[in-house]
């Protein structure tokens, strides 16, 4: 597309009068600059001064790099910059791809940080019934996205096995008729898993995800199970599904199981032990997630919560340890880093709904409650569980797809998570890769917009971005991190 390369030769050696639009952030005396297409570069203070004043010369050491990355106004390759922008924001041309089905509110765990609003095993009327499940599948297939993922959650979804099984079969049938690509996933604590359930799930290519918070004492402290030792079932079934994944050859795809790590106050200072637990089980991804002050965690924050600085220190230690294992030949990634790096150095959209602009609420994902109520996301459903229906966008029995995804709630979430409208984000060097969460803002700060300078989630993310960009400056770490993106 050479003909689309807008390249205007300068008459003299001063390459620019004004720089094109860029974001910047000072980090320890150096400057990180980024642009809308997601390109970034580091400049020392003197070079930054020349660059921002528009007096950078061609002979300047940084000139070639800045030129190739869209930071020199009269050397802009619009075709390349536009392609990068489009690729990084490909979600803008799709409808909701993630459909979260809450199969039941019942659960046999009482996790310290639970945000899903689980209730006791004996509770009545808390399971998704077949008519609601069928209607939910039909609703989900109306998405304008070319493919969709139905994720079964709870409570503990296996407690409603009969309806879950029927829903899986129906969704697979629907996939054939619709021509849309369908992924199925199950998020379970594995306490109720059986050989029979496992066989059916594998045969239907359902991917499996669980929670693993670290070694037994830590996991069981965070995730209290009424039926015994939660850690034992998680390890048992992670090994089982990993073995099946290694074996393959069954005539259907068997996905590698995955696990999520929720960091509580009790995790702090134990990063290497936790990572070793993952590596020992053959898991290739550790997804380090901070607590959110939503649901049960909001009430128990003083017991299990921490500051953004505490979390960032934990994350830094964990990432450093994972990189060390990589240097020794281990195959293990930190999932959040991998997804953010897909944007930072891969210029692509990793499908990370919490970290995109606008956020995934209603336009990227929909949560289907057990009774057919629709929410912008699972966090929005939880806010409702606490008594506030602000994030409800409809009901599968009463509302059309169009009405739900274009309702005023959905639009408000889109507007509030559009970073160019957020006063602090629209000026932040990390904004080409970041995203805000209206539900978090609402729960933590009392409005969809929040106040980013005082927002703990923003502080978490700024900390993580700071660590990642600094690792990218180190050639050995960069080499490893690049492999995570290509994987």
């Amino acid at each position: 597309m050479a003909q689309n390369l807008l390249k205007i030769k300068t008459k003299n050696s001063v390459a620019q009068t004004n720089p094109p639009h860029f974001y910047w952030r000072e980090v320890d005396g150096a400057y990180l600059i980024s642009n809308d297409s997601g390109c970034h570069a580091w400049l020392d203070a003197a070079a930054f001064k020349r660059f921002s004043a528009g007096t950078l010369r061609e002979k300047d050491k940084a000139f070639e790099e800045l030129s190739s990355k869209g930071f020199i106004r009269d050397r802009l390759d619009f075709a390349d910059l536009a392609a990068k922008w489009k690729s990084k924001n490909s979600h803008l041309s799709c409808g909701p791809g993630l459909h979260i089905f809450v199969m039941t509110l019942r659960c046999d765990h009482k996790c310290l940080y639970c945000q899903s609003g689980a209730i006791s095993l004996s509770a009545k009327g808390a399971d998704m019934k077949w008519p609601a499940a069928k209607k939910s599948v039909d609703f989900a297939f109306q998405t304008t996205a070319p493919g969709l993922t139905i994720e079964f959650q709870g409570g503990e979804p296996l407690l409603n096995w009969a309806v879950l099984k029927k829903t899986v079969s129906y969704a697979r049938k629907k996939e054939k008729l619709s021509g849309k690509r369908l992924n199925l996933g199950l998020v379970s604590n594995f306490s109720r898993m059986t050989e029979g359930y496992a066989r059916f799930l594998l045969e239907n290519e359902v991917s499996l995800c669980t929670s693993l918070d670290g070694p037994a004492d830590l996991h069981n402290r965070n995730r209290i199970c009424s039926g015994g030792n939660a850690h034992v079932s998680v390890r048992k079934w992670l090994r089982y599904f990993t073995r099946r994944n290694t074996g393959q050859g069954a005539g259907y795809r068997i996905f590698k199981p995955s696990a999520l790590l929720t960091v509580t106050k009790f995790s702090l200072g134990r990063a290497p032990e936790i990572i070793d637990e993952y590596a020992g089980l053959g898991l290739e991804d550790v997804f380090i997630r901070p607590l959110s002050p939503i649901g049960y965690a909001k009430n128990s924050w003083s017991a299990i919560g921490y500051t953004a600085a505490d979390f960032v220190a934990f994350y830094k230690e964990s990432l450093g340890y994972i990189l060390k294992l990589n240097r020794k030949g281990a195959v293990i990634r930190e999932k959040m880093a991998a997804m953010l790096l897909e944007k930072i150095i891969g210029f692509s959209d990793p499908g990370y709904l919490d970290m995109r602009c606008p956020c995934g609420a209603a336009v990227g994902q929909i949560a289907y409650n057990y009774n057919g109520d629709l929410y912008t996301c699972d966090e929005g459903r939880m806010a409702a569980w606490e008594g506030d229906d602000l994030f409800k966008i409809g009901n599968v029995f009463r509302d059309s797809y169009k009405k739900a995804v274009s309702c005023s709630t959905a639009r408000s979430c889109v507007a509030a998570s559009e970073l160019h409208l957020q006063p602090a984000c629209s000026r932040c060097a990390y904004s080409p890769y970041c995203g805000v969460c209206p539900v978090y803002n609402y729960e933590a700060q009392g409005s969809l917009w929040g106040n980013m300078p005082a927002n703990e989630r923003c502080a978490f993310m700024k900390g993580i971005f700071g660590i990642l960009f600094s690792k990218l400056k180190n050639s050995k770490d960069r080499e490893i991190l690049q492999k995570w993106v290509k994987k």
């Binding site: 536009a82 489009k86 690729s87």
Partner: protein
């Protein structure tokens, strides 16, 4: 240790929006109240939040002044590049490829697709040129106008006051 501080900012040196954004940037650690100062000035009053550190309190004024300088530069860069940014985003949105196309995937286009894409880009470029050729943007609802442009230059005046 300083508690409440007040800073006068000249509207000749900084636009009202620049002052607002700079004040917002320090609102994580302090409550901020912007109000009219002497003629041609805005009075920015800051009260550190209870959990603000002593270091933060001591450096608050310098932090705000630094944010003012940064914000002025941001504002100038944004103003100078508004059309360029819009052009790039329009070009990205109008590209006739599938969702999720990776950067650099254009190499696989057929000559006919190349031609079609070039024609489309040329059309968009023409449209942008026409739309921005010294004309006012269409804005019947006044969405792009600031409060001051709509309601006058005294935003803090209570119009119900007799």
């Amino acid at each position: 240790m300083k508690e409440k501080i007040s800073v006068s900012v000249s509207l000749k040196s900084y636009k009202a929006d620049t002052i607002r954004y700079a004040a917002y940037a320090v609102s994580g650690g302090a409550y901020v109240l912007l109000g009219p100062g002497k003629k041609g000035e805005v009075e920015a009053a800051f009260e550190p939040k209870p959990n603000a550190s002593a270091k933060y309190r001591a450096g608050l004024q310098k932090l705000f002044e630094s944010e003012l300088r940064d914000e002025k530069m941001r504002s100038e860069i944004a103003d100078a590049n508004r059309e360029l940014r819009e052009f790039m985003v329009l070009k990205a949105l109008s590209a006739a490829d599938d969702a999720g196309t990776q950067a650099g995937d254009y190499a696989g286009l057929t000559p006919a697709q190349e031609k079609e894409l070039d024609a489309l880009i040329a059309e968009v470029e023409r449209e942008i040129k026409t739309e921005t050729a010294g004309k006012e943007r269409k804005d019947p609802l006044g969405i792009t106008k600031t409060w001051e442009e709509k309601h006058g230059s005294e935003p803090f005046k209570n119009k119900n006051k007799k």
